[in-house]
């Protein structure tokens, strides 16, 4: 899960993202030359990394973008999210529980150390250990030996040969190989463990790019990346280097793009939503991203400090009311008017950029605006127990959410004739505290950005009983069963079918009310070509070429 730093809005709106630069580009590696004047250096926007540049400790886009350029994992993702081997020669399993991973020989870190089985195993052991306090440690939770509460080595990792190791999971997970492209699973050279703090400042990687000398990372300003001449994976750079400029606001980055000082921008400021497509013409990008937005109404009031606050939202009455709310929201109009078409109305709980997504789930009509049906269902619920009080959605006021929250609650109020309003909380930290301590007394804004391109990632952590980010305390044995079964099914299509079935139950229970998918909005200058944004909203930097 990576979240964005600036546009505090985006921190909030997007909870997570994997930022793996994926590659489908082939072709000549023309790197090898250090960057210099007049060469094809691509400038792109970014933000100051919030953490030292260590893969297992970077969970926000500012640092993630850089790590993905300077490291290469076992697999990498294509623009559509399809996995492809990068450092791996093969990843084999018979039962989805024990995986035999063979690392391709001949790859090196930029300090000359070979990339071998140890590079991965040591990095993962480091990342998983509680006392190392790595923010991404949860990525290793499925590996045998992992513990959240005590220092415990990953006993499931075993080096069997210089270039081969096995991974044993606690239980079968068919999408485990798919996760391996996420930055938490990147390898580290031995040099990293000698002085991890120094390494975080000047990381040594094995990816398509490398830091352009000592001090390439100018804090709060920019980072210069040169082509790594020794990289020969699927992401061979088609340019001579990458300069990621850190912007405090997206508005500044947009001004630079218009003035021709910036080649690629991956996030258009809110203020320019209405105009960027005319400003940039066919150099504007606006496509769905792997970001799902919703609001959650707690499902199990007994786990919350004030159970009475959710008395109308449980059982049959709750189900009717949730469906009525969902049908009372005019998603089309809100995404058009408030977001100028930079959001796409949701038709499930995942994202259209993910393999297995469909807008034809049974019961998905509950996500369409239907005021008559909404009123009918609400009246039916009132017959069970009359509704009292008002309906509120809590959101963090520092995240730019007021516009849509007001629009959604107005839509609900007008359709159902009840009192509905937003409940702003000053800061993101405070709103998260209300949610994690379960002292919240209203519905609340929720969002999810995928770590890796799989349906399970949108469902397992959010709706499985007691899952790590199941903030609404939802629990349904049938959903648990389908998710578990999907996780152990080898056949990807079959697994996706099970996840879709789980979603059909979610569409009846509506533990969270799906709203829309965030689009990636971006653009590029006339000086560059071959700009393509991948499944999780990041440009494929290595494929970009200079036109002049």
């Amino acid at each position: 899960m990576k979240f964005r730093r600036f546009g505090v809005g985006t921190i909030a709106l997007a909870s997570a993202s994997a930022l793996v630069l994926a590659g489908c580009a082939t072709g000549g590696d023309d790197g090898g030359e250090q960057s210099g004047g007049g060469e094809a250096i691509i400038t792109a926007n970014g933000s100051e990394p919030q953490n030292p540049l260590i893969p297992t400790n970077t969970n926000e886009t500012g640092g993630g973008k850089i790590l993905d350029a300077i490291f290469a994992g076992l697999v990498t993702y294509g623009a559509d999210g399809s996995p492809e081997n990068d450092m791996a020669e093969s990843i084999e399993t018979e039962d989805n529980k024990t995986f035999t991973i063979t690392v391709e020989e001949g790859h090196e870190f930029t300090n000359g150390e070979p990339v071998d089985a140890e590079s991965f195993v040591n990095a993962w052991q480091y990342g998983a250990l509680l006392s190392n306090e790595q923010l991404n440690s949860y990525f290793f939770e499925d590996i045998e030996g992992f513990s959240y509460d005590v220092d415990s080595p990953l006993t499931g990792l075993e080096v069997t040969d210089e270039y081969e190791f096995t991974v044993t999971l606690k239980e079968a997970r068919s999408d485990f190989p798919l996760r391996l492209g996420y930055s938490a699973f990147y390898p580290l050279p031995d040099a990293a463990f000698e002085d991890i703090d120094a390494f975080g400042e000047n990381p040594i990687g094995n990816g398509p790019y490398m830091l352009d000398g000592e001090g390439a990372w100018q804090h709060d300003v920019q980072i210069d990346l040169a082509v790594n001449p020794d990289y020969d994976g699927p992401r061979a750079p088609q340019n001579d280097g990458l300069r990621i400029v850190f912007y405090a606001t997206q508005d500044a980055a947009y001004a630079d793009l218009l003035a021709g000082n910036l080649d690629v921008l991956d996030s258009i400021p809110d203020a320019n939503f209405a105009t960027f497509e005319s400003d940039l013409g066919d150099r504007a990008v606006n496509q769905p991203a792997a970001i799902f937005q919703s609001f959650t109404i707690p499902s199990d009031p007994t786990q919350f400090a004030n159970p009475a606050a959710f008395q109308h939202w449980v059982g049959e009455e709750g189900q009717l009311r949730r469906q009525a709310l969902s049908m009372a929201i005019n998603r089309e109009e809100i995404t058009d008017v408030i977001f100028e078409g930079t959001r796409t109305p949701a038709s499930d709980f995942t994202s259209p950029t993910i393999d297995g997504w469909t807008d034809e789930l049974e019961g998905s009509e509950v996500l369409e605006y239907n005021p008559e049906e909404a009123q009918r269902l609400w009246a039916e619920a009132d017959a069970i127990a009359p509704f009292t009080g008002s309906f509120q959605i809590t959101y963090n006021a520092d995240g730019g959410h007021q516009g849509w929250v007001d629009a959604v609650t107005n839509s609900i109020a007008n359709t159902l004739g009840i009192q509905a309003s937003g409940n702003p909380i000053p800061t993101f930290a405070e709103s998260r505290e209300l949610i994690t301590t379960k002292t919240i007394e209203t519905a609340f804004r929720t969002g999810w950005q995928a770590d890796y391109p799989g349906l399970f990632n949108f469902l397992g952590p959010l709706y499985a009983t007691n899952a790590s980010s199941n903030d609404g305390a939802y629990s349904n044995p049938e959903v648990d069963r389908l998710l578990a079964e999907g996780a152990t099914t080898t056949d990807r299509d079959e697994a996706n079918r099970l996840y879709q079935q789980a979603q059909e139950i979610l569409l009846q229970d509506l533990p969270a009310i799906p709203l829309w998918y965030s689009n990636v909005t971006g653009g590029y200058s006339e000086a560059v070509d071959n700009v393509e944004f991948d499944w999780h909203s990041v440009p494929l930097y290595h494929a970009i070429t200079k036109t002049a």
Partner: protein, 309 residues
């Protein structure tokens, strides 16, 4: 003189301690656990959160946290930010940039305020005076971000005279556009003050004496009128300096200046106590120093002012 300076500096110590205490308390009192923001919308594992809280002393009562911070500051260590960087390093790389911007803005402000104010004051009620009044009213009523966006869009994006953003090596030429905007933001008050002061001085007895001695305007205006009008203006410039350091946040964001404003804003949002308190402390210190300097400049401007025991 030396005694005076030492006394003023000693007076600054309780001010600084009081400031750090107040700011630390305010950041402490901000609701919500700041470490939760490190995890975005994901709920962190409790054991990991607990360890991080211990590391940043967030599990300790306020007074322990504060004394620990103060103890470190005394030994020259301003603490560690959530990003694992030494706050000393952050201070050392951001303050010079903001100071450069503020000095440039103050210089521009001074040049505009003195020249426009002087001419307006000398030709009170004339066309120049009236237009200067209208323009200053306009400037004083515009929010700074409007000025920033207009300047950035027209002069940088449309006309291409300047770079729209500052970014790397925040050198003086690159800082000119944001400095002009900042100067315009505060210049109106200084213009009005200079004008009023010049008008008042022009009617003073010593000015009439100077003229009657047979001195020409070329001597009277700069030496007798302007110099004697400078004291209130200097005070204003000193106050503006503080305003510019603090008020640069918006400007720095829009022009992407890697200075104090951006870093401080992010630190406040993330509830990073050591960073916020250290930044504010250094700001207060700068403000105090500038005001001592201003007091010393009074003595230069007006020989009647003497700082003795």
């Amino acid at each position: 003189m030396a005694y005076y300076i030492v006394r003023r500096l000693l007076q600054a110590i309780p001010v600084l301690i009081g400031t750090t205490f107040l700011i630390y308390f305010m950041v402490f009192a901000m609701p919500g656990n700041p470490l939760l923001t490190l995890f975005g919308d994901r709920t962190p594992p409790p054991a990991l959160l607990e360890r991080l809280e211990q590391q940043y002393l967030l599990d300790q009562p306020f007074i322990i946290q504060y004394l620990n911070y103060l103890g470190n500051v005394v030994t020259g260590n301003f603490g560690i930010s959530f990003s694992g960087q030494s706050v000393n390093d952050i201070l050392a790389r951001t303050f010079p940039v903001t100071l450069r911007l503020a000095f440039l803005a103050i210089t521009i402000e001074m040049v505009i305020a003195l020249s426009v104010g002087l001419i307006s004051g000398l030709r009170k009620g004339g066309i120049f005076d009236a237009s200067a009044l209208v323009v200053s009213l306009l400037l004083i009523s515009l929010p700074i971000f409007v000025l920033c966006f207009i300047a950035q869009f027209f002069f940088a994006v449309q006309l291409g005279w300047f770079s729209p953003t500052v970014g790397a090596d925040a050198s003086i030429p690159k800082l000119i556009l944001p400095a002009i905007v900042l100067a315009l933001f505060v210049v109106a008050t200084a213009i009005r003050l200079t004008r009023a002061s010049v008008i008042e001085t022009s009617t003073a007895d010593f000015v009439r004496t100077a003229y009657s001695k047979g001195l020409g305007r070329r001597r009277v205006v700069p030496v007798h009128i302007l110099r004697n009008s400078l004291i209130p203006v200097t005070t204003q410039l000193g106050a503006d300096f503080g305003l510019l350091i603090v008020g640069a946040t918006v400007t720095e964001g829009i022009f992407n200046v890697p200075g104090v404003g951006n870093t401080l804003y992010q630190a406040i949002i993330r509830g990073e106590r050591p960073t916020v308190v250290s930044f504010v402390t250094v700001m207060v210190l700068l403000y105090l120093i500038v005001n001592i300097l201003i007091d010393l400049i009074y003595a230069v401007l007006d020989p009647r002012i003497r700082y003795v025991k």
